[in-house]
């Protein structure tokens, strides 16, 4: 299965490379658009992991929803007169050290836990139906709570973003 390896490395490269552009790019619009490629790369990795329905959901929610919202945020918060889309960085060195610590501890944690899982499990055909059964039975309460979260987010965000009435 050489082709799967190549596709994995391709998607991994797309994901990590565009994530680096998101973080290190000075131009916020470039950052937003390379976030698109990160999301697509992760969706491709989901497909490789046989989570087909989640891959579609990833594109639908992250690319179609959250990225659009982020771009609206970019467009709503720049100054009309002096176009200042470039932003700087601060505390680079401590952040690198902390990120290295986080990465090390995550890698250590994964190394401690993955040992039991070497052989891939039997392949799951179409994950949408088992997810649906799980949502409707075992995860019924979180499912309803998710709707409450969305309701609260919608009301709160609409309240805050609304243009205040002229005093």
């Amino acid at each position: 299965m050489e082709t799967f390896d190549i596709i994995f490395y391709l998607f991994a490269l797309i994901t990590v490379g565009s994530a680096c552009i998101v973080v290190f790019s000075k131009n916020i619009v470039y950052a937003a658009f390379s976030l698109l490629f990160t999301f697509f790369g992760v969706a491709g990795l989901y497909v490789l992991l046989q989570a087909d329905f989640l891959a579609v959901t990833q594109v639908l929610v992250y690319v179609g929803g959250i990225l659009t919202l982020l771009l609206f945020g970019v467009m709503l918060t720049n100054k009309v007169i002096s176009v200042d889309m470039k932003t700087g960085t601060l505390h680079a060195v401590p952040a690198m050290i902390l990120a290295a610590v986080v990465f090390g501890s995550l890698a250590g944690l994964f190394y401690a836990t993955w040992s039991g899982v070497t052989a891939p499990a039997s392949s799951i055909i179409s994950t949408a139906r088992p997810i649906g059964e799980m949502l409707m039975t075992g995860y019924a309460l979180p499912f309803e709570v998710a709707s409450v979260i969305l309701l609260v987010a919608m009301i709160g965000a609409a309240f805050m973003a609304r243009r205040p009435k002229k005093l």
Partner: protein
């Protein structure tokens, strides 16, 4: 041995290659004679005015917000639609409760008038003493957030 998503991947790959070949061949064949007015942004033949990075009206954000909430709702509807026949009335009422809660939010934004789009009053250009036309322009306050 191609899986379903293998076909999608192949489709994307062929799409990229197709566009790349077209662009590269055009780049090799076309003459390169730029001049300033050729390099301006095409804006329906008009001379472009202002900057690309203009600020949007905040109403667009509220619309996008409602969109994303119902986007997530649709994502939850899909797996439900696959299983609700086998799970019976319980799953049906679960989804009814889910939708009722979300539509309460929709009713809120509707009631508060976030969906209403009050247009700026049209300013008809007036002739003043027959000398010239006063231009109809939005003031800074109308463009701003």
């Amino acid at each position: 041995m191609l899986t379903e998503f293998g076909r999608v991947f192949l489709f994307i790959l062929i799409g990229i290659v197709f566009v790349a070949i077209g662009l590269v061949v055009a780049w090799l064949l076309r003459p390169h004679r730029p001049y300033p007015s050729k390099r301006t942004t095409y804006e329906c033949g008009e001379t472009p005015v202002g900057d690309t990075r203009m600020r949007f009206n905040v109403r667009f954000y509220v619309i996008a917000l409602i969109f994303i909430v119902f986007d997530v709702e649709v994502v939850f509807l899909f797996p439900w639609a696959l299983v609700y026949l086998s799970l019976g009335w319980f799953a049906f009422f679960e989804m009814i409760a889910f939708l009722t809660i979300l539509f309460a939010g929709y009713a809120y934004v509707w009631r508060k008038g976030d969906l209403e789009w009050d247009r700026p009053a049209p300013r008809i250009p007036r002739y003043e003493r027959g000398v010239g036309v006063r231009e109809a322009r939005l003031t800074e306050d109308e463009i701003a957030v």
